[in-house]
Symmetry: C2
Subunit: 336 residues, 2 copies
């Protein structure tokens, strides 16, 4: 008998999460109702924002309930369909999360066009991460040709797309990341004008040298002292999309630093948090444009695929070690 292996939230971490906060359970294979399909998971997405949902309090999105499946982006193949728009074998993406099988209403599943790009891109550059970069940078950051754009977490799944879109817009682009391997990747492979290792360089000094005309857009994935350094260099009229604050997600103490208000005030600057769900009505526009750039090789991407469903919690935890480049995925099964 086939069971549906799932990963549920076993506890709410204080500070850094660990394997003990997740539990594997075996559930019966679900039955699709009318209008639904049963899908078999091929790939799972693990993302930094999930850390916020492990807390009880308010975050971008509601907290994960205890003892329920961790939801998130997934790719799968239809096994059984009770909707005319889907047939067995179809490749789909959805939000069914960390489980080997799921049933979902057809409307909650998106068919993947494998002519555009490899299927894994629908969880990355042509999925939520790419769209987050696209709308956060273009809609809030509004980069103009010749402007200087700084992105933190630049070698992450979102950051690397942000930097490349900013290059396409004609900007000078500086990435901040945490290893020399990432720095080399950003400048040598992705065309960033400069990239700075915040762990080994004097960041305020290196940034000042790399941004002689100041900073017009700061796309922030990281927060903390890295952001303090960038914010000290913003120009009049700067725009600061807040996408993530990964350096802070696992802090046990309140995050304290120089208050930003004076710097925003004297520069008439804008800082805005956003989540990609707010742009849902414009996803088709974003995916179409991103797909053009990807197929035209104007945007390159990196994926790091961990093999095996059982390694999902560790793949998630590894996001916080700062070693991954690009989109972190878990491969659960091959398509049939």
């Amino acid at each position: 008998m086939i069971t549906n292996r799932q990963i549920v939230l076993a506890g709410r971490p204080k500070g850094m999460p660990g394997l003990e906060h997740f539990r594997f359970v075996d559930a019966p294979l679900p039955e699709p109702a009318l209008g639904q399909a049963l899908v078999r998971t091929l790939y799972l997405s693990v993302d930094p924002y999930m850390r916020g949902r492990m807390n009880e309090g308010k975050s971008y999105v509601p907290p994960y309930p205890l003892n329920e499946v961790i939801s998130g982006g997934s790719i799968g193949q239809v096994v059984e369909s009770k909707h005319e728009g889907l047939k067995p074998g179809d490749l789909v993406s959805g939000q069914w999360g960390w489980q080997q099988y799921a049933t979902a209403n057809a409307a909650r599943l998106s068919k993947i066009d494998t002519n555009l790009a490899p299927i894994t891109t629908s969880l990355g550059v042509l999925g939520m991460t790419g769209l987050t970069a696209y709308f956060g940078l273009l809609d809030i950051g509004k980069p103009q040709p010749g402007e200087t754009v700084v992105v933190s977490g630049a070698a992450g799944a979102v950051g690397m797309v942000v930097g490349q879109i900013a290059k396409i817009q004609g900007c000078r682009v500086i990435g901040i990341a945490g290893s020399d391997e990432k720095i080399a990747y950003l400048t040598e492979e992705l065309g960033f004008d400069a990239a700075l290792n915040y762990k080994t360089e004097d960041l305020p000094k290196a940034l000042a040298e790399s941004c002689p005309l100041g900073v017009d857009v700061y796309f922030d994935n990281v927060g903390g002292a890295v952001s303090d350094a960038v914010l000290s260099l913003i120009n009049t009229g700067a725009r600061i999309p807040l996408c993530g604050q990964i350096s802070l997600y696992n802090l046990k103490e309140p995050d304290v630093g120089p208050r930003v208000q004076t710097q925003l005030l004297i520069n008439k600057a804008l800082m805005k948090g956003f989540i990609i769900g707010d742009y849902a009505s414009r996803f088709p526009e974003g995916i179409t444009q991103l797909a053009k750039w990807v197929t035209g090789k104007q945007i390159r991407y990196a994926e790091n695929v961990v093999q095996g469903f059982e390694n999902t919690p560790q793949a998630f935890l590894d996001l916080f070690s700062g070693e991954n480049i690009g989109k972190q995925l878990v491969k659960v099964a091959d398509p049939e």
Copy 2:
């Protein structure tokens, strides 16, 4: 012989400014060139933002040069005109600042319509301070009926107008100020729903009680710990116009506190600095609307008029003692 008594910047303060940072000088009466008028000052404006211009570094606007007249809003009467649009006796406002006489191009002078309201309002509720409240609140804060609006520095010239416009928009309005006299004025005279004394109350607790539905708009004139308390209560989609940070202007040490980014991020909130000059093309719209509200008694205002040009520096310094209610002016002369 008539001389033109002026006040120039004598030095750049570190921390709180004092009388020693200003110097009185006597200059010859200027001669208007073709297209100019000679005006005699009747009232001067002293404003918190001027503190920023006393520093060497970047602020809203360029620093005041040493040994030059402190510029700022003024009201005067035309003494001599070499422009057909102005004649002796006309009442005008402009930016000629802290001096008893000035020449200015006619285009830089605005005739005051004394049918609308007393002439002093053209430096206050119908001048820069009213416009700052109007555009900062409506254009950045975008208050919606039923929302909760909090304003700090609520008994100041800008804050009191912000709160009243928010009431006109149908919002619940909470003011924060620093004396029981101000608190009483805000609730009893201006119709604020609540006002909190940050010096005597437990502000986080009092705010939570006064804002049971959270905070949708925070119009910030003050910064520092007062803002920390308000920001902990913002709702999803909150808007935070940054107008001033008066609690910080005279600090000698860097301003440190809880970083706001996580709070902005999880609430998808917007924080934006602005200066009123950016809205210059829309001033007529703002003044027309403000004048309607003032003449209709929907907006009331307070002015605190110090007598005598020689008291200008002290009137400016008193802005930082936190005791003034409403717009601080200096009366220099009566109209003829």
